[in-house]
């Protein structure tokens, strides 16, 4: 995937530099806007892949431990339920984070060979990645304990999809005042606080965006702005921590098979 991405970006960059893409085209774009587009296209695929992987992988961990009776074997050891919960489920989050660093890091790296990035945004990108996957992981892990594997997968996919749609709508509302006055916009604003995966994902995308990326109205439809406030990924990270806390609380009180 990264190789294909690298090929696409290099071809586009060469075409631009060789004049095949005119600066005087009807809709003039800067070099960094092209990078933004490249990041976007790569990121959409990467984020979908990573969301699916995180949801499916993390939804399986606890139900499988319960089904096989392994959880009782571990719970009978002298460790607290909190440690057991985190020990059983954190490995799957770590795997997804590693893959996230490889995918998004790769996208940023390949793009940076041709277009400039804000180096100071690396921290935002990392925070966004951790918060985004943390939200998905916390939600699906806790849900899997309450509902079982398949309902947890379906519900989390549904929530992530709605969050993504709502995020795009909010971006559009930032550019088009009529949209910002609609009920759907207000619902989307509320929903992003209820399930903030998209807020964190935008933090990640903002982190790996080129320095001078301009946002056009059209871009808002795919849901990326040139700015993401720091509190968005921070809120998402806190949300993930709070839901994990609720999961631990439930796990501590439940009977094990």
């Amino acid at each position: 995937m990264l190789l294909l991405f690298w090929w696409g970006v290099s071809e586009a960059s060469d075409a631009y530099r060789s004049g095949q893409v005119s600066r005087e085209s009807p809709s003039p774009v800067s070099e960094s806007d092209m990078a933004l587009g490249a990041v976007l296209m790569g990121s959409v695929g990467a984020s979908m892949l990573l969301t699916a992987l995180t949801v499916i992988l993390c939804a399986s961990v606890l139900p499988e431990e319960f089904e096989t009776g392994r959880i009782s074997l571990w719970a009978a050891l002298p460790i607290s339920r909190s440690r057991l919960y985190l020990g059983s489920t954190a490995a799957s989050l770590a795997c997804c984070l590693l893959l996230g660093v490889l995918l998004f890091g790769g996208i940023a790296l390949v793009t940076s060979l041709y277009m400039s990035f804000r180096p100071e945004s690396v921290a935002m990108a990392l925070l966004g990645l951790v918060a985004w996957l943390g939200v998905v992981w916390a939600a699906v892990t806790t849900m899997s304990m309450l509902t079982g594997k398949i309902p947890a997968i379906l519900i989390t996919f549904g929530l992530a999809g709605l969050a993504s749609f709502g995020g795009g709508f909010i971006q559009l509302g930032g550019l088009v005042p009529e949209v910002a006055e609609s009920t759907v916009y207000r619902l989307a604003m509320g929903f992003r606080l209820f399930f903030p995966s998209d807020m964190a994902l935008r933090g990640l995308l903002f982190g790996i965006m080129p320095a001078e990326g301009m946002v056009k109205e059209g871009m808002a439809f795919v849901g990326v702005s040139g700015r993401t406030p720091l509190w968005h990924p921070l809120y998402a990270a806190l949300w993930a921590a709070a839901v994990t806390g609720l999961g631990i609380l439930r796990f501590r009180r439940r009977d094990l098979p």
Partner: protein, 304 residues
């Protein structure tokens, strides 16, 4: 010592445990016996802190089971645990020891050798038979010097040789001072390794104590004779209710008005003039005690 005080637990409308009070003295071996679904496993899980009771308290030593420290000395073998197919026994041992820190790889290898499964230590669990996996699980559970052992159907899947190894292992651990709580339906196995038993019926403790003291006489005297048929005839002629068992040197005499106790049966046997090797009151075996406990009504019978 394991102390269980007034434990009740229900799952929905099902009362799994009803006011169970039980003590397992330190260093003793106790079997939990009862029908399927009686509440034995639930009780064991309460002791392990896996199941939260609705009421009552449980402690290992003086530490309540809600405290993870209560499990510092405890080893648990669940029934039918399924390990990852790719996991190898040495990896599993390393994972467990990262938490319990109470035995060495050498202890594990020695225990595996005792259970004749040391050649499997680097083989993935998915490539073992059920019995082999059970031997590995037992080795993982019992390696080193565990203080308290809670074994749920430990002989499940084991071949006869494996069961012999298991019995010898349990006796060795008990002799070493380990406290044992055994959940098994194989009464022969229980009888050979446990001194005490607790009987649970529909969530209630209906009997508990030392097996020898729980055993009642069955109202029969067993006489081992050289000529059982002749002895039986002679005793019947004397008014006793006797019968010779087929293909066995044993004559069974039922106690009754003609011979109400062992002494009078002995006198009648002596008077018959027949040779005999031994004479004894027939007592209940564990199966008899189990069947009685499952039928009897009333309060807990205790035999300390």
């Amino acid at each position: 010592m394991i102390q269980i005080q007034g434990i009740s637990k229900s799952f929905g409308r099902t009362q799994a445990l009803d006011d169970v009070t039980l003590q397992v003295p330190a260093g003793s071996s106790m079997a939990l016996l009862g029908r399927n679904g009686a509440g034995k496993t639930t009780l064991a899980k309460v002791v392990l802190g896996l199941v939260m009771p609705d009421s009552g308290t449980a402690a290992v030593g003086t530490v309540p089971v809600s405290d993870p420290a209560s499990r510092r000395e405890v080893r648990y073998l669940p029934e039918n645990v399924v390990f990852h197919a790719w996991a190898r026994p040495m990896q599993l041992f390393a994972q467990l020891e990262r938490v319990r820190r109470s035995s060495t790889p050498r202890d594990f290898r020695e225990r595996a050798a005792q259970l004749a499964c040391d050649h499997l230590l680097n083989r993935p669990m998915g490539r073992m038979s059920r019995g082999q996996r059970q031997r590995i699980a037992l080795s993982l559970c019992t390696c080193g010097s565990p203080g308290v052992l809670i074994l749920d159907e430990p002989s499940s899947g084991l071949d006869p040789e494996g069961r012999v190894h298991l019995r010898s292992l349990i006796r060795e651990l008990s002799a070493g001072g380990a406290t044992l709580l055994l959940n098994s339906h194989l009464l022969g196995e229980v009888e050979s390794v446990c001194r005490r038993a607790a009987f649970i019926r529909e969530g209630r403790l209906v009997g508990e104590g030392v097996l020898d003291q729980l055993s009642r006489t069955r109202g029969e005297v067993e006489v081992s004779a050289a000529r059982p048929a002749a002895l039986s005839e002679a005793l019947c002629a004397g008014g006793l209710d006797a019968s010779a068992e087929e293909d066995s040197p044993t004559v069974t005499v039922r106690l009754g008005p003609g011979a109400p106790n062992l002494r009078q049966v002995t006198e009648a046997v002596l008077e018959s003039g027949e040779d005999f090797d031994g004479i004894s009151l027939r007592r209940e075996n564990l199966e008899d005690i189990f069947m009685r406990m499952m039928k009897e009504d009333g309060s807990v019978s205790q035999h300390p």
